[in-house]
Amino acid sequence: MNTIAWLGRLVIERIKGIGAASLMLLQVLFAMPSQGGFQRFVYQMYRVGVMSLLIIAVSGLFIGAVLGLQMYSILVTFGSEAMLGTAISLTLLRELASVVAALLFAGRAGSALTAEIGSMKQSEQLASMEMIGVDPLRQIVAPRLWAGIVSLPMLTVIFATIGIIGGKLVGVDFLGADEGSFWGGMQSTVQFGHDILNGTIIKSIVFALICTWVAVYQGYACDPTPEGIATSMTRTVVYSSLCVLGFDFVLTAVMFGGI
């Protein structure tokens, strides 16, 4: 009997959490921009986007390089290393760029957002804002959410570009695949509307919404103790990674699977 009650409580609490998070998202997304909101948005863009640029660039370079190395060694065994450019660019644009950038973003920027909002809650800054009649959702959460939604797609495009350059560096410059067929094969296969717009940009907008939403909600709803903040940060990374991977499958199936 107790276990059934426990299961019921668990489900009710999860659904409550989703409901609260959805309400918060609606309030934030459709809130009127507050005074000086743009400055706060730009500052959050700097903290969320620009500060993640280095890790995104470095991982993009290395993931592209590893792809170049592995694909080349496989393709060269049946003499079709001319397909190297096609393979690298399609892998990156359709799947890897958006997923890996979102995972890195959840770890680098998402957890920081949770910790920041959580410690504001712990030091009762959010409560005192409400006391003086300032809406913390508009003042604190909205600029961070919008900054995340805008900056992750940009980071993803940069990731894909640097990845392709990294693959070219290893495949063409080190291993000696033909440069003309590298770019030529890529250009004849990659379609801007289908691969870049769908695969990279639309996917990463969805992932950006998921990652930042989870991060700010976990911070906003955390238990205001040091332990609670730590738990929320862990949850941010775990939930956003799982959601990103799950949604990636759904989006890929819809976009490329012909479902």
Partner: protein, 224 residues
Amino acid sequence: MKSRTSELAVGIFVIIFGIALFFLAMKVSGLVGTNLRDSYSMTAQFDNVNGLKPRAKVTMSGVTIGRVESISLDPVTRLATVKFDLDGKLTSFDPKQLKEVQNNALEELRYSSDYEQADAAKQKEMEQQLISNMTSITSLDEDAYIMVATNGLLGEKYLKVVPGGGVNYLKRGDVVSNTQGTMDLEDLISKFITGGAGKATSSSTTESSTSPAASADAEPSFVE
């Protein structure tokens, strides 16, 4: 000061994003990078275009001169109709070459029997008609044929224009009438196995998709 540096950094971030998107659009997807100058479209009908895709290249002597625009099916002839864009810069004559081509054509005309039988006024008229016909010609002659070729053994399909030796040239927007569709490896193998009896396999796909040249080649060597 803090907000100034952060604004500057965000500006640089946006610029980097712009460069990256531009790179993806131009260099990776070749969106505007088709760089066909002065392009015009032509069509050709094939019995089989298996494996050919839109945006595949069109080459002559190994030089890319255009791109496949669209592939559709003609409901009457039931042939695949391929529309492709060609680069006007690479496939037309400059004025000097055009003069030479016209002179060659006139030369040819003067040796023809019709011309020799006609009187002087008629000859003049024929010459003028010939010249006026040659205003918007391409460097593809009427004997040229176009085939679906494969890049390497397993590579992608593309269109290959093989120039002929004629002195009559196709105009922009014309239909290339000499074509050869995709050569199906499976059909060749099945012909090999069944001893060259192309009719013995007699399935409709085999009949329609092999070129006559291939079956003519295959038959004598296997019948004996």
